[in-house]
C-alpha cells in the first residue's frame, strides 16, 4: 500500500508543479484555479484517513459540555451566514449531537437576519428526529430579532419581552419548556456558533455581566482573535475552523463532513505554501533588476 501512496504523492506534486509553472508562464491564474480544484476534488474521492490531534481549546469546550448535568438548559446560537456553512454547520451539528445525547434542553436563537432562523430550523429538526426529541419540550427555536446588542442585553432580564413568541409565532407562555426560563440565570451554558464579531458581545456583555459560561465554535478567520478571551478565562473553549470541528467530531466519535475535508485541506495548504514560496523566489530573483516596489 505505501508504494501506491508514495506514487500518488509524487504524482500530486508533479501536477501541482506543472500547473504552477504554466500559471507563471502564461500569467493566467486559471491554471492555479485548476490546481486548487484538483487538490480539493481528488481527496474527496480518495479519502486518506489522517490522525486528528486535539488542541487544548477544543478539549476544554468538550469537557465543559460533557460536565453539564443531564437535562440542563443550554442556549445554542446559529450566528452564521449561509456563506460559511461549510465551517460552521459541522460545529452546530456536532454540538446538537452532544447536547441531545446528554438530554439537554436546547434553546436556539440567531442574530443573523439573512437565513439565521431557517438554518436553525433545518438543522435542529433534522437532528431532533434522530434522537426523537419533541419540539417545545426538548428544544425550541426563538429565531431572529433585530439589533443584536439589544437582544443580547434584553435576554439578561427577560427573554419573553424580547421574544414574545418563538420563531413560528407560538407564544412563549404556551411552550412547556419555557415555563421556568426567564433569563440567562436559568441557562446553564451558552454555545455560540458564529462567523462574525457577535462573539465579542456574547463575551463582553453576556459572560461579563451575567456570568454564563460561553463556549464558541467560530470560523478559522475569527479564531486567532479569541485566544485572548480563552486565556483570560472569559471564554470556555473554542472550536477554530474546520479543524476545530473535525477535532470535536472525533471527540464525539461522530466523524462527519469536517473530518472528510481534512485531506483536501492538507493538500491545498501544501500547494499554497509552495506557491507563496515559488512566487516570492521569482519576485526576489527578478527584484535585482527593479526597485522593491512594483513600478
Amino acid at each position: 500500500m505505501t508504494i501506491l501512496l508514495v506514487f500518488a504523492y509524487i504524482l500530486l506534486i508533479l501536477i501541482g508543479a506543472f500547473l504552477l509553472y504554466m500559471a507563471f508562464k502564461t500569467d493566467d491564474r486559471r491554471y492555479i484555479y485548476a490546481a486548487v480544484a484538483f487538490y480539493v476534488i481528488f481527496p474527496v474521492i480518495v479519502t486518506l484517513k489522517l490522525p486528528i490531534t486535539t488542541s487544548p481549546e477544543v478539549k476544554q469546550l468538550y469537557d465543559a459540555v460533557e460536565a453539564l448535568p443531564d437535562s440542563s438548559t443550554v442556549m445554542l446560537t446559529f450566528d452564521y451566514y449561509p456563506s460559511t456553512l461549510a465551517e460552521t454547520e459541522p460545529m452546530s451539528h456536532a454540538a446538537l449531537h452532544h447536547l441531545f445525547r446528554k438530554d439537554c434542553k436546547v434553546i436556539t436563537m440567531t442574530t443573523i437576519p439573512l437565513g439565521g432562523p431557517s438554518i436553525a430550523e433545518r438543522v435542529t429538526r433534522k437532528l431532533a428526529e434522530e434522537y426523537n426529541k419533541v419540539y417545545g419540550i426538548d428544544f425550541v427555536n426563538l429565531g431572529y430579532k433585530a439589533n443584536y446588542v439589544a437582544v443580547l442585553k434584553g435576554m439578561g432580564t427577560s427573554i419573553e419581552t424580547i421574544y414574545p413568541t418563538d420563531n413560528s409565532g407560538t407564544r412563549l407562555s404556551e411552550i412547556p419548556m419555557m415555563e421556568n426560563i426567564e433569563n440567562y440565570s436559568d441557562i446553564d451554558f451558552i454555545f455560540v456558533v458564529a462567523d462574525n464579531s457577535i462573539v465579542d458581545y456574547w463575551i463582553s456583555i453576556v459572560n461579563a455581566q451575567y456570568n454564563n459560561p460561553v463556549g464558541t465554535g467560530v470560523t478559522a478567520v475569527m479564531a486567532p482573535r479569541y485566544f485572548a478571551y480563552i486565556s483570560s478565562g472569559q471564554m470556555t473553549g473554542m472550536l477554530g475552523g474546520m479543524k476545530g470541528a473535525a477535532e470535536y467530531e472525533t471527540l464525539l466519535n461522530k466523524p462527519a463532513a469536517a473530518n472528510m475535508g481534512m485531506t483536501s485541506q492538507s493538500l491545498v495548504h501544501l500547494f499554497i505554501i509552495f506557491s507563496v514560496i515559488a512566487g516570492n523566489i521569482i519576485f526576489l530573483t527578478s527584484k535585482k533588476g527593479r526597485d522593491g516596489k512594483r513600478t
Partner: protein
C-alpha cells in the same frame, strides 16, 4: 428643535442602560423598564432593515423603468424580491406554501437557491487566495517577510499532513507553536488590539450618548 429632541432621546435611551447596569433589576423598577426599552430598540432596528429592502427596490425599479443598461438583470432582482416576499406574507393557514416555515416557498427558495448561491460565492475565495498567494503575496519588506514566514509555519501546523511533518522535525514542535505563537505572541497582540479597540468604541459611544457625535443622523 431638529437636533435637541434627538440628542435628548439618545441620551435618555442610553442613560437607562447605564442605570440598569449599576442598579439591581430585581429590586428596582429598572427590572421592567430595561427589557421594555430594549424590545422597542429591536422593533425600530427591524424597520432599519426594511429601509435597505425599500432602497434596493427603488434603485432597481428606477433603472428598469429607465431601461438603463443591464435592466434585464435588475428586473430579475425585482422579480426575485417579490417571489420571496409575497408568499411569506400570506398566512400559513391558507396553505403550507405560504408563511416562512419549513415547506413554504420562502423557506424553499432560501434553502435551495439563496443559501447555496451565497455559499458558492464565498467558496470561490479559495481560488482567489491561491492565485493571490502566488501573484500578490510578496515579501516586499521585512515586516511582510516575517508575516509570510509565520503564516507558512501556522499553515503547516494547521493541517494533519503538515503537523506530521513538523512532528518529524521535532516531536514537540506543534505544541510549541500552539503555546508560544498562538497562546503567546498572537494572544498578546490580540489583547492589545482588543483593549485599543474597546477604548475607541467606548469613546464613540460616549460621544453619541452626549449628542456630540451626530454624523449618523446626517446632521
Amino acid at each position: 428643535m431638529k437636533t435637541t429632541v434627538p440628542v435628548i432621546a439618545a441620551f435618555l435611551s442610553g442613560f437607562v442602560m447605564l442605570l440598569a447596569f449599576f442598579f439591581n433589576p430585581e429590586t428596582s423598577f429598572l427590572g421592567r423598564l430595561e427589557p421594555e426599552v430594549l424590545s422597542w430598540v429591536t422593533i425600530v432596528g427591524g424597520f432599519t432593515l426594511l429601509l435597505g429592502v425599500v432602497s434596493i427596490i427603488r434603485v432597481n425599479y428606477s433603472s428598469v423603468k429607465r431601461k438603463s443598461s443591464g435592466w434585464g438583470y435588475k428586473l430579475a432582482t425585482l422579480v426575485s424580491i417579490f417571489a420571496m416576499a409575497i408568499p411569506a406574507i400570506f398566512p400559513v393557514r391558507w396553505s403550507s406554501l405560504f408563511g416562512t416555515g419549513t415547506g413554504s416557498i420562502y423557506d424553499w427558495l432560501f434553502n435551495y437557491i439563496d443559501s447555496p448561491m451565497m455559499s458558492t460565492m464565498f467558496a470561490m475565495l479559495a481560488f482567489y487566495i491561491a492565485s493571490a498567494a502566488f501573484r500578490a503575496f510578496r515579501a516586499r519588506n521585512a515586516e511582510a517577510t516575517l508575516l509570510l514566514i509565520t503564516a507558512t509555519l501556522v499553515m503547516l501546523w494547521r493541517v494533519p499532513m503538515g503537523e506530521a511533518l513538523l512532528q518529524g522535525i521535532h516531536g514537540n514542535l506543534p505544541n510549541l507553536i500552539n503555546t508560544y505563537i498562538m497562546n503567546g505572541a498572537n494572544m498578546a497582540v490580540q489583547r492589545g488590539i482588543i483593549i485599543g479597540a474597546a477604548l475607541g468604541a467606548a469613546a464613540m459611544s460616549l460621544r453619541i450618548m452626549l449628542g456630540i457625535e451626530r454624523t449618523y443622523m446626517g446632521k
